[in-house]
C-alpha cells in the first residue's frame, strides 16, 4: 500500500535555513544542507528545499546549495526558488534535485508547465500554491503572498492539473508559523477538485495535527517546516504517533519510538527512570550495508 508521506520543508532566505511566520518575519535556524542531512537521518519521506527570496531577487536557487543538500540526502529532494524556464529546471535537476517546485513562474507564464512536462514528465513537477481564506472559499496569492490574483483555488488547481503538473503543494498563508493546525477545509476542497496528489503545508504544531489532517482530507502528504526544525527526531516521533493512531506511514529509521507512550497532542511521554537507567550502557552499533 502507498503510505501517506511526511515531508520536511527547508526554507532558505539569504543562504540560511529559516523559520517563517506569516510570510513576513524570518528567524534563522541552521545551514540548509545540515537541515537536510538531519531530516534525511530522521526518516523524512521527502525533503523540500525552497529559496523563498529567489524570484523576488530575479535569480534562481544557487546550484551549489542544491548540490550540497543533495549530497547528504538519500530521500527525494524537491527544489524550488526562482525557476523561470525549462533551462532553469534542467540546471536544477542536474545540480541534484529530484523534483521541481514552481510557483511564481507558473502564474506569470502558463506555457512553462506544458513545456516542462514534455521534457521532464509530469511526475517531476510540483506546483506550489499560496492561498488565503476569502469568505467561504480560498484565493490564490502571487509573489510570496503579497499579490492577490483574485483566482479561486479550485479553478487554479484544476488548471494546473490540466497543464500537466504532477502534484500540488498547497500552502495556507494564514496558518504559516502559527502552529495551530492545518487549514482542513482548504484540503477537503482541493482533493475533491483534482486527481493528482495534494500536499498540505502550513500550521503543523504537534503530531496530532497530522492525524487531524489525514482524517479530514485525502491528502497524499503533509508537510511542515517550523515544527520539524526545533525538536530532535521530530519527524520520527510524529510518524510513530501517526502509526499509533492508525495512519499508514513509513517508519523504518533506526530510532522508532513505536513502543513509546504519547501525551497530549502527540508529545512523547516521559520514560520511567528505571527504563532510562537500563538504556545507559546499551550498545548501538552502526548499521552496515
Amino acid at each position: 500500500m502507498l503510505k501517506r508521506r511526511i515531508i520536511a520543508v527547508v526554507l532558505v532566505h539569504r543562504g540560511h535555513a529559516v523559520q517563517s511566520i506569516g510570510f513576513r518575519r524570518y528567524l534563522p535556524v541552521s545551514d540548509p544542507a545540515i537541515s537536510v542531512e538531519f531530516f534525511n537521518a530522521w526518516g523524512a519521506d521527502e525533503i523540500v528545499l525552497l529559496d523563498i527570496r529567489a524570484s523576488r531577487e530575479g535569480r534562481r536557487i544557487p546550484g551549489e546549495l542544491v548540490t550540497a543538500a543533495a549530497n547528504r540526502c538519500f530521500a527525494p529532494l524537491t527544489v524550488g526558488g526562482g525557476l523561470w524556464s525549462v533551462e532553469d529546471i534542467r540546471a536544477t535537476l542536474e545540480a541534484g534535485a529530484d523534483k521541481i517546485v514552481l510557483n511564481t513562474a507558473v502564474l506569470a507564464d502558463p506555457a512553462l508547465i506544458p513545456a516542462a512536462a514534455d521534457r521532464f514528465g509530469s511526475q517531476c513537477l510540483v506546483a506550489s500554491v499560496d492561498v488565503r481564506r476569502d469568505g467561504g472559499g480560498y484565493t490564490v496569492f502571487a509573489d510570496s503572498g503579497r499579490v492577490d490574483t483574485g483566482r479561486p483555488v479550485v479553478d487554479h488547481a484544476r488548471g494546473l492539473e490540466d497543464a500537466g503538473v504532477g502534484e500540488i503543494l498547497l500552502n495556507a498563508i494564514d496558518r504559516d508559523g502559527r502552529k495551530d493546525g492545518f487549514e482542513l477545509d482548504l484540503y477537503r476542497m482541493a482533493v475533491e477538485a483534482v486527481s493528482i496528489p495534494v500536499i498540505a503545508l502550513g500550521g503543523a504544531g504537534e503530531p496530532a495535527h497530522f492525524v487531524e489532517l489525514f482524517d479530514a482530507a485525502d491528502v497524499s502528504a503533509a508537510a511542515a517546516a517550523n515544527f520539524f526544525n526545533f525538536t530532535e527526531h521530530s519527524i520520527t516521533i510524529a510518524k510513530a504517533f501517526l502509526r499509533r493512531q492508525g495512519i499508514d506511514v513509513r517508519l523504518d529509521s533506526h530510532a522508532r519510538y513505536d513502543d513509546n507512550e504519547f501525551g497530549a497532542g502527540g508529545r512523547l511521554a516521559r520514560r520511567t527512570d528505571d527504563y532510562l537507567q537500563a538504556q545507559f550502557w546499551e550498545d548501538h552499533p552502526p548499521e552496515e550495508i
Partner: protein
C-alpha cells in the same frame, strides 16, 4: 569491474552517482558509446518522457552500445524508473514510441487502470516479491521504496520480480538474466534502497571495494 552510469540527458544522475559512491564503488558517468562498450556494469537511470529519452539515446549514438551490452553480451544492467520502462517494446507516453524490446512488455498510462487513483503514483510503497530475485531477498512486508511515475510497465509474468499495490498489482521490479530494473528509485529510498543496490552489485559479482559502509544511527 567498470561500473558506468549512462548520461543521456534525462534527469537526475547525481543521486544515483551519490548512492553508488556511498556504497564505495568506483563509478563514472558517461554519455558516449565507447563508455558503454567498455563497461562491465551499466546503470541506466532516467526521469522524464519516454519519447524524449529514446530520441536522446539515438542522437547520442548510444542505442547499439546499450543493445549489445544487454542483448548480445548479456552483461549486468540495472535500469531505474524510466530506465526500466525503456526495456519494453513500446510506450504510449505522449504518442507511440519504440523501446529496446529486451522484455516482452509495453508501457501504458496509470490512468488506464480505471480505478479512482491519484496519478502520478508518488511516494513510498511496499513490495511483494513474485519470483525469487537476489534483489528482494531480504525485503520485509514493511520495507518501503520511493516511487514517482505516471506510466507503468505491463510485462510477461516471467520477468516480474516484485509488484506493489496501487489499484491492483503494479510491476515494481523486473529481472531477465543479467537485466535488473526497478520502477522505484533505490537511490532515493534511504537505507532500504542502498541495501537493494548492494545486493544487485553482489549478485552480478562486483567485488565489495572496501569494508562495508557504516551508517551511524542517529
Amino acid at each position: 569491474m567498470l561500473i558506468r552510469i549512462v548520461d543521456y540527458g534525462m534527469g537526475n544522475l547525481r543521486s544515483v552517482y551519490n548512492a553508488v559512491r556511498f556504497l564505495g564503488y568506483d563509478v563514472r558517468i558517461g554519455d558516449d558509446a565507447d563508455t558503454v562498450a567498455a563497461a562491465d556494469v551499466v546503470v541506466l537511470p532516467g526521469v522524464g518522457a519516454f519519447g524524449q529519452a529514446m530520441e536522446n539515446i539515438h542522437r547520442l549514438g548510444l542505442y547499439d552500445a546499450l543493445d549489445e551490452h544487454v542483448r548480445s553480451k548479456g552483461k549486468p544492467f540495472f535500469g531505474i524508473c524510466l530506465g526500466m520502462q525503456l526495456a519494453a517494446r513500446s510506450s504510449g507516453e505522449r504518442g507511440a514510441h519504440a523501446g529496446f524490446g529486451w522484455i516482452d512488455g509495453d508501457v501504458v498510462s496509470l490512468a488506464d487502470r480505471g480505478a479512482p487513483l491519484r496519478v502520478p503514483h508518488v511516494g513510498w510503497n511496499t513490495l511483494r516479491p513474485v519470483t525469487p530475485s537476489p534483489l528482494t531477498e531480504d525485503v520485509q512486508p514493511s520495507t518501503s521504496f520511493y516511487f514517482d511515475h505516471s506510466f507503468e510497465l505491463r510485462c510477461d509474468a516471467r520477468y516480474t520480480a516484485a509488484v506493489c499495490d496501487y489499484g491492483g498489482d503494479l510491476v515494481a521490479a523486473i529481472r531477465k538474466d543479467n537485466l535488473f530494473a526497478t520502477q522505484f528509485h533505490p537511490e532515493k529510498s534511504q537505507s532500504s534502497g542502498l541495501r537493494l543496490l548492494r545486493r544487485f552489485f553482489d549478485a552480478v559479482g562486483v567485488p565489495r571495494p572496501r569494508p562495508n559502509q557504516r551508517i551511524v544511527r542517529c
